[in-house]
């Protein structure tokens, strides 16, 4: 049994770049990946903004699987996983039965459903391929990742919507500590779809002009797509091969509002943060940076700031807390996985990405949102928050690695 779990590889597929270096450089520079939607006809929608991964060509980025045989979210996940393994210097593992995969998602493979529905509406039942079930199942995402990686151990999909990435990383953390695996690929993936887009549009949640979390004039969120996968290892496994360590997973907290499917109550968010702090053994004042859920909707940001205020007290006002969703939109099940990777990089490099599009402070969001410019600062301990439909809350703690 190993007590300490380290992050040794990062794989990112985002609207501002594919690969750790490209995505991180863009996020620090405040690049915005939000444009008019291209992947489907957005005529008839009140907003047309989306954060899509454009020009994605998975074929050259994969070693084992054929991307044509799987859905787009699985393609994102497999590419992010391959990148995370390459980044970790771990092209193959010695014992594949002790190597596992944990992934999260909001919608799985919604484009497979759209294809099914188009045929259904056209009464083209014969045109429905037998693989519909296999391709649509969200369970396919970790399966495709494990097939790409050649991993034979744990294989789990935890589809807890927009908190799913954190759930998957938390699951992997526990599995490694319990001795169920030596290496885990963990993260989340979601693809852009008319289903998700029309849902958020119907709820009136999508911003018309820009995503500007914590700004007084914020109008809403912007749906996005992508994947984030982290290579996690027990310290013993990483040390034995002389791996570079970005950061250590320090703990997590999960809670459920049990209040309303879409309207958070803030209490559950605070409980998840408090549990995460307790699990990590850190006091609130030791936290250097918070990666906010920060969707940019009026309600989310207000409630999240209030919950942070309850947990961090007077320190909340000066605690750097940014939302990269201002740049890459809300990548759904991938969001907290990408954000965990960002926290690991912030710790490793001593720089935190900004919240862009910020101009007017909101008295209901009294936080330091690292407005518009990235900041150089030492990050010893980071907290990453994620909240989801269904009242699922997950806070993850990461800290700088120091071998004992």
């Amino acid at each position: 049994m190993s007590e300490r779990i380290v992050i040794t590889g990062l794989g990112l597929v985002t609207p501002v770049g594919v690969g750790r270096e490209e995505a991180w450089r863009a996020l620090l520079a405040g690049c915005c990946g939000i444009r008019e939607v291209e992947s489907f006809d957005a005529t008839g929608f009140t907003s047309r903004l989306g954060a899509e991964v454009r020009g994605f060509e998975p074929a050259g980025l994969l070693a084992r699987i054929d991307p044509a045989g799987v859905g787009r979210a699985s393609q994102f996940a497999a590419v992010a996983a391959r990148l995370a393994l390459t980044d970790a210097g771990l092209p193959t593992v010695a014992d594949p039965e002790r190597a596992g995969v944990a992934m999260g998602t909001t919608s799985g493979e919604p484009r497979e459903i759209e294809d099914f529905d188009d045929r259904w509406l056209a009464a083209d039942y014969e045109g429905v391929r037998g693989e519909f079930v296999n391709r649509y199942r969200c369970a396919s995402i970790p399966e495709v990742v494990a097939s790409e990686a050649g991993f034979r151990g744990l294989n789990i999909m935890i589809p807890t919507a927009c908190a799913a990435g954190n759930y998957a990383i938390a699951y992997a953390f526990d599995a490694l500590r319990a001795g169920r695996a030596d290496v885990m690929l963990a993260g989340g993936a979601d693809c852009f779809s008319r289903i998700t887009y029309s849902g958020f549009s119907r709820l009136g949640a999508i911003a018309a002009e820009r995503c500007q979390p914590f700004d007084r004039n914020r109008q809403g969120m912007v749906p996005g797509e992508g994947a984030g996968v982290l290579t996690l290892e027990t310290w013993e496994h990483a040390a034995a091969r002389g791996a570079r360590v970005y950061a250590e997973i320090a703990g997590y907290g999960l809670s459920c509002d049990a209040h309303h499917m879409t309207a958070a109550d803030g209490d559950g968010a605070a409980r998840a943060m408090i549990q995460a702090l307790r699990d990590s053994g850190h006091r609130p004042e030791e936290v250097s940076y918070v990666s906010a859920h920060g969707t940019g909707t009026p309600t989310n940001d207000r409630l999240e700031c209030a919950a942070v205020g309850r947990v961090f007290g007077e320190g909340a006002a000066t605690l750097p807390m940014s939302s990269i969703k201002s740049m890459i939109g809300h990548t759904m099940g991938a969001a907290s996985a990408i954000e965990a990777a960002v926290c690991a990089l912030a710790i490793h490099e001593g720089r935190v990405p900004p919240t862009i599009n910020f101009s007017e402070p909101d008295p209901e969001c009294p936080v330091d949102c690292v407005a518009n410019e990235c900041r150089e600062m030492p990050v010893a301990v980071a907290m990453s928050n994620a909240y989801a439909f269904g009242g699922n809350n997950a806070s993850l703690m990461l800290r700088a690695w120091e071998a004992a």
Binding site: G44, E97, V133, E143, I156, S198, R202, S255, A258, G390
Partner: protein, 416 residues
């Protein structure tokens, strides 16, 4: 030896499935070779022969859950909520006691709310995006049923959804058990739910996995494999720490000793590799449970009548690797393939059989084809206390769990 706070016990169960709402009913149906609730639905899909499917037509959701808030729940959510209500009651966990303890929920589901997602999409496409229905979108996320159930019963502990194909239910039990073992939860409802809808039926039909026109019921382990009967249902177990169960004087049905899983990177394309994954899952479950293969008194199979059965039985044989056949059960002969609910149902089936000290029998079992298994008949006796529960996915997943029936409940007289 684990401390009482880290030992995981089953203290109640809630079932809502086509074949019955109580384990005794399901077990008797299996013994008598019946498959309650099976019929041929009329589907408005051209070219599709009416497949066998098991619907829970008798379920009176309104009587069970009350009227308030029902519109917010789709079929998957309703099945999950009914099973949760029954499991809480069966575990003797009254609502008043919930206030002070954060009970969690880990729900396994293969499809979540597939029908709702499809209907939401089709309405938006055919009528225009402004007519897409908001309440349906809320249920389009795969964790909707778990979230809705938590709201209804104020379950504020860890709330997670697990989607592991045909291993969803066992994965959910394993995840929940680890949360208790790791000290992250005291009590959770764990198991799964899936609805039955034209979309999933048609998908499985196109995959060629459903029972053909000549079948009246699914025949697990039958040769040749004729296919499965898709069924709707939900089943949840109350899992809690032994310390918690003792403190509140709960009846302990069984202990979850351990679990294991494995994956075939070939995505199940070769039966031999899939069997190897099953064997790997069985071995890691035994190791986790700290029990030798010889301690397994029966195995509760996921066998559903498809080609997966052969890989499962071969894998169980290799994983146990011991002389002589092991007594076997196949819950899906009676229940059909309940997808997410199957893991909890199979576990309960094993518990029931060990308590009854009887095997219900598997009509399709050919001892020549599966020498590692012994099905027995409705009257053959079953001794012992420890069960292995297994599951196999369509695309390479395998899972196994070891449960031991609590000593005081193996007494058949107590049950009567």
């Amino acid at each position: 030896m684990r401390s009482d706070a880290r030992r995981v016990v089953v203290t109640g169960a809630g079932i809502a499935c086509a074949a019955g709402d109580r384990m005794g009913e399901l077990w008797a149906a299996a013994r008598d070779g019946r498959s309650p609730g099976v019929r041929r639905p009329e589907l408005a899909l051209d070219g599709m022969p009416g497949p066998l499917a098991a619907f829970h037509d008798r379920l009176d959701v309104r009587a069970e859950l009350g009227r308030e808030g029902l519109r917010a729940l789709d079929r998957t959510g309703r099945l999950a909520a009914v099973a949760a209500r029954r499991a809480l009651a069966d575990a003797g966990w009254p609502a008043a006691a919930l206030a002070g303890t954060e009970v969690g929920l880990v729900l396994g589901t293969m499809f979540g709310s597939l029908r709702t997602i499809c209907e939401f999409d089709r309405r938006g496409v055919s009528a225009g995006p402004s007519y897409a229905k908001p309440l349906d979108f809320v249920n389009s996320v795969i964790n909707a049923a778990a979230g809705q159930t938590a709201i209804r019963f104020d379950l504020r502990g860890v709330n997670a959804t697990v989607s592991g194909d045909l291993t969803s239910g066992l994965q959910a039990l394993a995840y929940a058990a680890d949360l208790v073992r790791g000290g992250r939860a005291t009590a959770l409802l764990a198991g799964g739910a899936d609805e039955l809808c034209a979309e999933s039926l048609y998908g499985f039909h196109r995959l060629g996995l459903l029972c053909g026109a000549g079948s009246e019921r699914a025949v697990p382990l039958g040769r040749p494999a004729e296919g499965m009967v898709l069924a709707e249902g939900a089943a949840l177990l109350m899992l809690e720490s032994l310390a918690s169960a003792r403190a509140r004087g709960a009846t302990i049905l069984a202990e979850i000793l351990g679990h294991g899983s494995a994956y075939d990177p070939g995505r199940g394309a070769g039966a031999h590799h899939l069997a190897a994954a099953v064997a790997g899952a069985v071995r890691s479950a035994l190791q986790d449970a700290d029990r030798p293969a010889g301690a397994i008194d029966c195995v509760s199979l996921a066998a559903n009548g498809t080609h997966l059965d052969a890989a499962e039985t071969a894998g169980v044989g290799r994983g146990l690797s011991r002389p002589g056949p092991v007594p076997a059960l196949a819950a899906k002969a009676a229940t059909g393939e309940t997808l997410g609910a199957a893991g909890a149902l199979q576990t309960l089936f094993a518990i029931e059989s060990l308590r009854n000290r009887r095997l219900p029998g598997i009509p399709g079992l050919d001892p020549g084809a599966a020498p590692a298994l012994a099905a027995g008949g409705g009257t053959s006796t079953l001794e012992g206390s420890t069960a292995l529960v297994t599951a196999v996915g369509l695309q390479g997943k395998a899972a196994a769990l070891v449960a031991e029936v609590a000593p005081q409940t193996t007494d058949h007289d107590r049950r009567a």
